[in-house]
Amino acid sequence: MTVAVADPMLPQRYRVTHAQRLLDDTVSLRLTPQDGELPSWQPGQFNMLYAFGVGESAISISGADDNGFEHTVRAVGAVSRAIAALQVGDSIGLRGPFGSAWPVTAAEGADVVFVAGGLGLAPLRPAIEAVLQQRERYGRVVLRVGARRPQDLLFPEALERWRLARDVDIDVSVDHADTQWRGHVGVVTTLIAGARFDPHESIAMVCGPDVMMRFCARSLHDEGVADDRIYLSMERNMKCAIGLCGHCQFGPSFICKDGPVMRYDTIADRLNVREL
């Protein structure tokens, strides 16, 4: 018997079934398959979204239910601008999911430290939801969120819901604020030192701009978290998403195939190589 294997390079047609503007340049889209079922996925993975006639872009999955994926997109280039401009009812191509996942199951029994910067909260959100859905399986849960300004915070409703959830230590810091803001001001790394978790029994998951992740990983290391218990979600110029084209090569790894979620001890040296 011949079993048809889906071509990973062939986009499937999806329809935008919900669109929500989160920030001036950032939207969340709910994408529902037009044919067949939603493929299985794990928190941390990404899809290649194809704006017809414009191009493809790798976008992390920021949520999903039985009917569709949620993707949070910031309009910064031609493709992401085209995706962010889609309306409910529009079609989009989608390949995936691809890549490695957050160690949600491996973290069971441990304290879990999430550190998100800017749009980095989107790829972490499914992992946070997964941990909170089975809260009893984890030790302390700590979430540290950094943003540019208070009005740039992603998912404020989710943050409030998580804050009200059982035994979750959430703190937010912004880089700039006026006197109306009653939270922290300063880089998110400064919130790591004061967090209460057992560094020897913790798994840390970090997502945000490269520079922010590099310094967060160092802060976690300084707090005593072993490098092999720190995970970062790397971002490079992903094209084929299956480790063939080499666009996202990161030393001996391909971010699309070996990442995007990568263990810090395996990449720490490479993070300091300017050419990478």
Binding site: V76, H176, T179, V185, T189
Partner: protein, 152 residues
């Protein structure tokens, strides 16, 4: 109730500090309370006292004429407010405002400088505690300046 020496000993800034040095510091210290909105220090004023925060939150601000002040950092429990007392001409370079009820230990800067000058071992011990904090803050400020969450 804890006395001043016990309070100082339990503050993160003095963690592991030799007891005789804590005793020296007690002579320069006083207990303080700031209500929300109250200023601990003002830009341009004499930097004659700095603060070890016990509880609460303090915003460091730069005043902008005709606009609301810009908060560039917040500090909380276990942190120190103010370093300008270390460097002539001993003038504050920003405002510090209590965001919420804040309890702190105020350290008389002139008193501490005198004791540091008189006992170089004590002075060196104090500098070893201050310099890493200053270094961390400089580093954090650099990261803030990078505006990493801005448009790529």
């Amino acid at each position: 109730m804890k006395d001043l020496e016990q309070i100082l000993q339990s503050h993160a800034f003095l963690g592991g500090c030799e007891p005789e040095y804590v005793q020296l510091l007690v002579g320069c210290a006083r207990n303080l309370r700031f209500d929300a909105g109250e200023y601990l220090l003002r830009e341009g004023a004499a930097a004659d006292e700095f603060y070890l925060i016990r509880h609460g939150k303090v915003a460091l601000e730069i005043n902008v004429p005709g606009k609301a002040p810009i908060v560039f950092s917040t500090l909380g429990e276990g942190e120190i407010v103010g370093a300008s007392w270390l460097v002539p001409p001993y003038r504050w370079t920003f405002d510090a405002r209590a965001v919420e009820l804040t309890r702190a230990i105020g350290i008389d800067a002139a008193c501490l400088r005198r004791k540091c000058d008189a006992d170089s071992g004590f002075g060196y011990a104090m500098m070893k505690r201050f310099v890493p904090i200053l270094s961390q803050r400089l580093h954090a400020t650099r990261l803030q300046l990078l505006d990493v969450y801005g448009k790529p």
